[in-house]
């Protein structure tokens, strides 16, 4: 079950480097004490994941990842950090029981997932996806997935209108 016979091809080396970057970014984000540092370190993780998407032949999704996650969501979170005060950072009261329980639970979940991944049978060779996958994704989005695509656009519009309506400062009645 635990045979680590990996041939060191270029793809595996690139995967290994990007995976190390992603995991380091995530773990640092958990360990930093300042909120802005956490957000930037998670942005590093998102960029590494975009690199992994390029490695997997999904260039369009990689660009969307960089635009949306790194460009929009992280910046939105940084604006959220700026708009809320956070004096007490760094001197949180330690909650050892909760943290230990959460760590044990996450490690158990990882163990179960790891066991499942190891014991599953996967096809060995990669499939040949179409070379210009942006064109193919566009065709699929407007034929087979047209209705979900339109529904998602409605969802986005509703969500952003809702966000603006929520965050608008209410007029004082008196």
């Amino acid at each position: 079950m635990f045979n680590f016979n990996i041939e060191f091809t270029g793809e595996f080396v690139a995967f290994f480097l990007l995976a190390v970057c992603a995991i380091v970014g995530a773990v640092l984000a958990i360990n930093f004490t300042k909120v802005v540092h956490m957000a930037l370190s998670l942005a590093f993780t998102f960029i590494s994941l975009a690199g992994l998407y390029v490695l997997l032949g999904a260039e369009f999704v990689a660009f969307v990842q960089v635009l949306l996650y790194v460009g929009a969501i992280t910046i939105l979170m940084i604006f959220g950090i700026m708009m809320t005060k956070h004096d007490g950072e760094g001197q949180e009261p330690a909650r050892p029981l909760l943290e230990t329980l959460a760590a044990i639970g996450c490690l158990c979940l990882f163990g179960i997932l790891f066991y499942g991944i190891r014991s599953a049978e996967f096809p060995a060779e990669a499939a040949s996806l179409p070379a210009d996958n942006t064109l193919e994704i566009g065709k699929l989005l407007f034929t087979q997935y047209a209705i979900p695509f339109e529904l998602v656009s409605v969802l986005l519009t509703v969500a952003f209108i809702g966000a603006v309506a929520l965050a608008k400062r209410e007029e004082d009645p008196q």
């Binding site: 949306l68 499939a127 996806l129 809702g162």
Partner: protein, 102 residues
């Protein structure tokens, strides 16, 4: 050990780190960002299966696009709710938002 299981293991690691952040962090913005990290782990799984899976096709990448869209909507609404909560309670600690428990 195929390269697909390496991708799945990486996604499992990221998911567990995100779950730990959701469970232990007190700043609500970091909790939202950890949820984004968990969603990203799932996206990585979908894209890995779209290339190396049993039935490889572009459907995995399209599902990933939908997931990213929903994640963007979730982040926008989440930050808006946080700003409103901060205005009324002057805190972003998730364990002080306990009106429903009292």
């Amino acid at each position: 050990m195929t390269i697909l299981s390496s991708y799945l293991t990486l996604a499992a690691v990221l998911f567990c780190v995100g779950l730990y952040g959701v469970l232990t962090k007190r700043n609500a913005i970091i909790v939202l960002l950890s949820v984004e990290l968990m969603l990203n782990a799932v996206n990585l799984n979908l894209i890995a299966f779209s290339k190396y899976g049993v039935n490889p096709s572009l459907a995995g990448q399209i599902f990933t696009l939908f997931t990213i869209t929903v994640a963007a909507a979730e982040a926008a609404v989440g930050v808006a709710i946080l700003v409103v909560l901060y205005r009324s309670r002057a805190t972003v600690n998730v364990d002080e938002f306990d009106e429903l428990r009292r």
